[in-house]
């Protein structure tokens, strides 16, 4: 029964979860591993899921924590740098993004250079198109914080794109 439920969830949401993790990590192989880990964690904690959030948002939340835990485990210091500054030295873009087109490539390149909280709120609000309430639920922020951070994040993204020469004043 539980396994059946997990299977249902996997086939319904694995693409979205993988995409979310890929946007956060910029690493296809890592995103696959963390997608696997997300569903294993969901399986293990299925009994504690009381339906307060939707299954999809609950899975996003697990995926986010799994990604953060992994970053902490792998490179604790890098995690901190990533929290506050940028991934400036990382010019690698996953193939899945480069295939999309020039505008997407440029946008993603600039997105990666923002600090993590800015990336997260942009990914959830603008790419996943979640509501403010859903985003607040996943990030464990207040709705006000989501609005303010998104506003700042989009300004920072625009500045970064100007800096990279992708857009002009």
């Amino acid at each position: 029964m539980i396994l059946q439920k997990l299977n249902d969830w996997y086939w319904s949401y694995s693409d979205e979860i993988y995409r979310y993790i890929l946007m956060l990590t910029a690493d296809h192989e890592l995103a696959k591993d963390l997608t696997h880990d997300t569903f294993i964690k969901a399986y293990k904690s299925m009994e504690s899921f009381r339906g307060e959030a939707s299954v999809r948002n609950w899975l996003f939340r697990i995926a986010r924590n799994t990604t953060i835990d992994d970053a902490r485990k792998r490179k604790p210091l890098r995690f901190v740098v990533d929290s506050y500054a940028s991934l400036a030295t990382n010019d690698y873009l996953p193939e899945q993004v480069t295939q999309l087109g020039e505008s997407e490539k440029e946008l993603y390149h600039s997105l990666l250079k923002l600090k993590r909280s800015y990336r997260e709120v942009i990914i959830l609000r603008k790419i996943k198109e979640l509501t403010i309430q859903e985003t607040a639920e996943i990030l464990d922020w207040s709705e006000g914080k989501v609005k303010i951070t998104l506003y700042r994040a989009l300004n920072a993204l625009k500045k970064q794109m100007l800096k990279e020469g992708y857009v002009h004043e």
Partner: protein, 267 residues
């Protein structure tokens, strides 16, 4: 480009990302791996059950000893929850122990959570090159306040390197929060890595007894205000210095925090 066109272009590009999917092969591969992981976990449980006979016998033997352990438990039951709790910061403790080359214990306080841990770094810089870089002191900040944009800016200012990689601090845990937000702060110094003069500075002052141990009490000045500090020499190698902002924290709260912390550290 006008603002409207620009936003539309951004939104179109954002939407473009929605077409990223796992390809069929990857999707099936992850699914197979997921099912295998679950079956493996289940089979481990079954193997464990096969040993239940042996477990029952062992349980009988253990019950004989249980009375003794129960007695010890009851005896220790007067300790507060904070003193009994196992540190939830094992990973961080390991990192700090490695950095300071001495075992480190991080006190847990239910009502005042650990918000940040940093390492003060010393870098020997010649020209534009870092010749040597090592940790000198570990810091633990406890607060009921969360980090915000102002803290992030302050952190960026502090760590903005003159020479890349030469920042004076490394943040190991939590988000950076400014001194003004700390309700309690613990410096951990080690004779292996910290300067002797700094250790001696903290160990010179008035003596007090807290939790049956001698601590050195003094008022220290910082550009952000005055602090009361209590230095506890754990052993010949490690010194824990508890600092509290004088104008924000009453002395009895500080003493209680130090007492609970020492009881956890010496355990």
């Amino acid at each position: 480009m006008n603002k409207h066109n620009e936003e539309t272009k951004f939104d179109d590009a954002f939407k473009g990302f929605q077409s990223i999917d796992l390809d069929g092969e990857d999707k099936s591969m992850i699914h197979t791996k997921m099912i295998k992981s679950i079956e493996k976990a289940k089979s481990r449980k079954v193997k464990w059950n096969k040993q239940s006979v042996l477990t029952t016998v062992l349980s009988g033997i253990l019950i004989i000893f249980a009375g003794y352990f129960l007695a010890v438990f009851v005896e220790n039951d007067n300790q507060s929850a904070d003193e009994k709790v196992k540190s939830p910061y094992t990973e961080l403790e390991k990192q700090l122990s490695d950095a300071l080359k001495t075992p480190v214990y991080i006190p847990y306080h239910k009502e005042l959570p650990l918000k940040m841990s940093i390492l003060m770094m010393e870098s020997m810089i010649v020209g534009e090159k870092i010749i040597e870089r090592k940790p000198t002191v570990a810091g633990l900040a406890y607060s009921n306040l969360d980090a915000d944009e102002a803290d992030a800016k302050e952190y960026e200012k502090i760590t903005e390197p003159g020479v890349k990689g030469g920042a004076p601090i490394e943040l190991l845990y939590g988000d950076f929060i400014k001194n003004e937000k700390h309700k309690a702060y613990i410096h951990i110094l080690s004779r292996e890595v910290s300067t002797r003069s700094l250790i001696n500075y903290f160990l010179y002052g008035d003596k007090k007894t807290i939790a049956g141990h001698t601590v050195i009490y003094k008022i220290t000045e910082d550009k952000t205000g005055n602090y009361m500090s209590f230095a506890f020499k754990y052993d010949n190698n490690t010194v824990y210095v508890f600092a509290f902002p004088l104008n924000k924290v009453p002395e009895d709260f500080a003493i209680s925090f130090v007492e609970k912390s020492i009881k956890q550290i010496i355990r």
